[in-house]
């Protein structure tokens, strides 16, 4: 194999990689660039490569217009509040359950764990409708007193999503690889199980916490079908359902792109900073195969 041959093959490989990268990038670049253009120019530019370039009459006016159309700040707060609360509660309760399954000897733990893992095969879409009936009949005591029915609330978006098979599974896998001596030593020192969980095991959980948190974050922030059904009031709507304010006959594309950019770019930035952790958390869902 000559040098010239290998250089040509190298260039071809990079050309292929770049070409594919453009396929994945062009809609996202278009989204951000278009959010800066007035509608007329946006439509005119779409016929040429200008669609992907921030040229012409560039401003952030669309963001202001989008904010007038929809209570964006409220939606963003709702999404962040629901997502953050669910992620934190999920990490605590799922890691605690996994700790119990791995380190404690109790009757029935094998059966309970098997039941939990069996729910992997149940897609949320198949339980959404009966779950709607369940939450509509649950009681809640809030600041406004006692009421039946969780529709239009934060808890209806949070509590059903706290515990899931994948998060528990990730912790179980991680705990199984921890040295048993560590636990034994702490027991000999007279530590209670909860203390071992809190002070010995959890401080070692950095990697699995990051993985579980990222996966849960993506699921929660990108929720659509469930909040669509349980938040009729805009007070509780998350950003994805808020998109419906922009469904109309003559779509104001500049505003749409501004809203889409606003709810997407922070997540993309977060991803780019933590890309290694994001990608390894997706990969870790595959290890179980």
């Amino acid at each position: 194999m000559t040098d010239r041959h290998s250089i040509a093959s190298l260039i071809l490989r990079y050309l292929l990689l770049v070409w594919i990268a453009l396929i994945f990038l062009f809609p996202l670049v278009f989204m951000v660039v278009s959010s800066l253009k007035p509608d007329l120019q946006l439509l005119r530019d779409s016929a040429s490569v200008r669609a992907f370039l921030p040229v012409g009459d560039i401003s952030i006016d669309n963001y202001g217009l989008a904010a007038e159309r929809a209570p964006i700040a409220r939606f963003v707060f709702n999404s962040l509040f629901v997502t953050a609360t669910t992620v934190v509660l999920s990490l605590i309760l799922c890691s605690m359950a996994a700790f119990s399954f791995v380190f404690l000897q109790w009757r029935g733990r094998g059966v309970v764990l098997a039941i939990i893992l069996a729910t992997f095969i149940v897609p949320f879409e198949t339980i959404a409708i009966p779950l709607l009936l369940v939450v509509n009949n649950l009681p809640w005591i809030g600041i406004d007193g006692f009421r039946i029915g969780w529709i239009n609330s934060y808890q209806v978006q949070i509590i059903p999503w706290i515990a899931d098979a994948l998060t528990i599974f990730l912790f179980v896998q991680f705990f199984k690889d921890l040295p048993k001596d560590l636990i034994e030593a702490a027991r000999v020192d007279g530590a209670s199980w909860f203390q071992i969980y809190r002070r010995v095991v959890m401080p070692l959980c950095g990697p699995v916490l990051a993985t579980a948190a990222i996966l849960k974050f993506l699921v929660m922030y990108n929720q659509y079908i469930w909040p669509l059904m349980v938040t009729q009031s805009e007070d509780y709507r998350p950003v994805m359902v808020g998109l419906q304010y922009f469904f109309q006959l003559n779509t104001a594309w500049g505003e749409v792109m501004a809203y889409l950019s606003l709810i997407t770019v922070p997540v993309l930035a977060f991803y780019l900073v933590l890309q290694r952790a994001f990608i390894s958390s997706i990969a870790s869902t595959g290890i179980k195969g």
């Binding site: 149940v122 659509y224 709810i263």
Partner: protein
Amino acid sequence: MAAGPRGKQTLTGWAMASPAFLLMLLFLITPFFLAFGLSLTNQRLISPNPAEYVGARNFENLLGLSFFVLEPERDEAGEVIRDDDGAPEYPRLRTFTRNNPDYPHLDGMREWMSIGWTDDSRLVLLASDVVFMKALTNTILFVIVVAPMQAGIALLLALLINQKLRGITVFRVIYFMPVVVSIVVVAFLWRFIYDGQNGLLNSMLGFLSFGVFQPVDWLGNPNTALASIMAMSIWQGVGFHMIIWLAGLQTIPVSLYEAADIEGANRWQKFRYITWPGLRNTAVLVLVIITMQCFALFPQVDVMTRGGPLDSTQTMVFQAVQRGYERQDIAGGSAISVLLFVFVLAISLTQRWLTRDKD
């Protein structure tokens, strides 16, 4: 005696596991079994009357099918009546399906499709719920097309990204990017790309064909709408599966490839005899996950087409939400959910069986 600490462990064990388990019991396992029960009733979300057991009626209303041979109209001499173009004229189908005492089993059914039968008669396929039948076939079509394509493209990308090249991480990061973006955002964004007047896709195809290409209203045309949603879904989801394939690739020991090099194996042989066997477990996982994601097809349809045009993008989940949520018909929505689960289970088991250990 060991019973003391053991009994205490049982108590602590339950105490630590039960919060998560009880939540799953209430919000996942209960609704799962409720779906089966509710699908046999006439439960509504809010109703003054208690729900009643109705047997399999919800399923009959969804899945009822019947064939019917439609004979052309004949005059008194027994000759087929034809219109000006020579095509036979047929009686209106509704004369058989609306309160016709001779055809009680056809009552309320509508035409789904029909084909020419003998000479002048036509064979008509009737369905109790034509829209749901379209949703069912679209969903199955979506799974059959998207699952292998997405898995295949993802594997190619994973092989591409697994090369030892300078800067390969950059490409991996870019290919994965759409996965981080919500499918709802992607769907709204692609509405512009697919737009019939100003859409980017039409502009690009026009440019590439030097203006020969005629613009298409991709989402407004019943022939292209579902395919457009498929293409976009693959674009969004392929990076996810690329990463899972990649994780699988990296578990294959490098020494196997080195040995193959010494034996003088070519690239295809290395893929066929080392890579592919090493990826069998990954293949099962990728296919099961993609299948479940495909059956869950909803946000794309809700944002892009609302099931139209002409029901060409109806899906099972879209129908479940239409009934269970918008019409508050919990029983009807639950029946669809049960069917959905049966499909997911059947396909997962089949895939597991097809990719089983043959040793």
